[in-house]
């Protein structure tokens, strides 16, 4: 028993520095929020740490963690959508007040244009693209994690790219106009 826990701890200490940057990156790209990403990672790694059945290798651990983060991020996404709806309602009430200040903020934040564009992607498309570009997963692996076919992954990734192109074009036009 003692040996078992020791092995597990050793393995965790080996895997953690390799897995954390990947899981954090995926969390950040899905949620667009550093603090929430940290919380998601915390939850996911605790779950991983407390798992009774060890996973066969580090790759399986990676898939498992990515799946956990993805499931948890959905709750956050729902909350975010509610808040977003509330904000847009507020904007409708006070449009003149918001406009000028918001434009100034946008001009200063051209650096984070990519993440903002990602945030605007529908969740389903965003997750697939993030898995591809930031977790370096192939279509087969993404399909396995999400429980969809490879063909479906291919379609979603393409749609995500198409949408992202559009968003980025709109955004850059908006910034250069302003």
């Amino acid at each position: 028993m003692l040996k078992k826990t020791k092995d597990r701890e050793e393995r965790f200490n080996e895997e953690y520095p390799i897995l954390f940057p990947i899981i954090y990156r995926v969390s950040y790209r899905i949620t667009g929020d550093e603090a929430i990403s940290e919380d998601l990672c915390h939850e996911a790694f605790i779950k991983y740490y407390e798992r009774h059945e060890p996973l066969p290798d580090i790759n399986q651990a990676k898939y498992w963690l990515i799946r956990v983060v993805k499931n948890m991020s959905l709750n956050y996404e729902k909350k975010r959508m509610r808040e977003k709806n509330a904000v847009s309602k507020l904007e409708k009430i006070t449009p003149q007040y918001m406009e000028s200040t918001e434009k100034e903020v946008l001009k200063e934040e051209t650096k984070i244009v990519v993440q903002e564009a990602l945030d605007k992607l529908p969740y389903k498309l965003r997750v697939v693209l993030v898995f591809k570009e930031y977790a370096q997963l192939n279509y087969k692996e993404i399909g396995a994690i999400l429980g969809i076919s490879e063909g479906n992954v291919k379609v979603r990734i393409f749609r995500a790219r198409e949408r992202l192109e559009k968003i980025l074009k709109e955004e850059s036009a908006y910034v250069s106009e302003g």
């Binding site: 003692l2 740490y49 693209l129 291919k154 393409f158 790219r161």
Partner: protein, 193 residues
């Protein structure tokens, strides 16, 4: 015939099967339109990949600490850590069976003397109220080792006969051990590092 955008996107990801990869390559070399589309999708992929990101290292360290902390709070952790972090009412205390029996005896006697005390009080409160605070407490010391039900009866009788017995000391056996059960394996391993 030009491939669909979807195929070009899959090509960017290296997800097109071998006979088709060559065909696509050949097509890109002769079709400017598709080649331009390929470049667009490739540069978008690069844009995402090389986008600046927050530094993960502080988060990595914080989360590691939180996980270690969490595990030491749980059963895996050492008793020392546990005591420090949990409020006293949440701390898990494992009391060995004989100690638990002794504890209940002590509690029983305290209750008994309390009610006895109250009973005395109620009837005599009016005239004795003042004296109550001046009365010297009677100290009863009971060695609990080998205590039997019979002895307990004697003790209670003794308490009953005295006017005020506010203090009862129970002596526990010399070898009583109030240790935490369960080996704090994991926490100790971690501390060694």
């Amino acid at each position: 015939m030009c491939p669909k955008d979807e195929i070009i996107s899959a090509y960017v990801d290296g997800e097109v099967e071998t006979p088709w990869t060559e065909k696509l390559k050949a097509h890109f070399s002769e079709c400017a339109k598709c080649k331009a589309r390929l470049k667009e999708l490739q540069s978008m992929s690069q844009l995402l990949k090389h986008d600046k990101e927050p530094d993960f290292k502080p988060a990595l360290n914080r989360v590691y600490k939180r996980i270690y902390f969490h595990s030491s709070e749980k059963s895996l952790g050492s008793g020392r850590q546990q005591e420090k972090e949990l409020p006293f009412w949440k701390r898990r205390v494992h009391i060995p069976m004989p100690a638990a029996v002794m504890l209940s005896v002590v509690l029983f006697i305290l209750f008994a003397s309390f009610f006895f005390f109250m009973g005395q009080n109620n009837t005599q409160m009016a005239n004795k109220g003042q004296e109550l605070y001046n009365t010297q407490p009677i100290q009863v010391t009971v060695p609990i080792e080998g205590l039997e039900a019979k002895d307990l009866e004697v003790l209670l009788k003794l308490l009953n006969n005295k006017d005020f017995s506010q203090e009862v000391l129970m002596e526990l056996p010399e070898d009583s051990q109030f240790t935490v059960f369960g080996e704090p394996e994991f926490g100790d391993c971690a501390i060694d590092k």
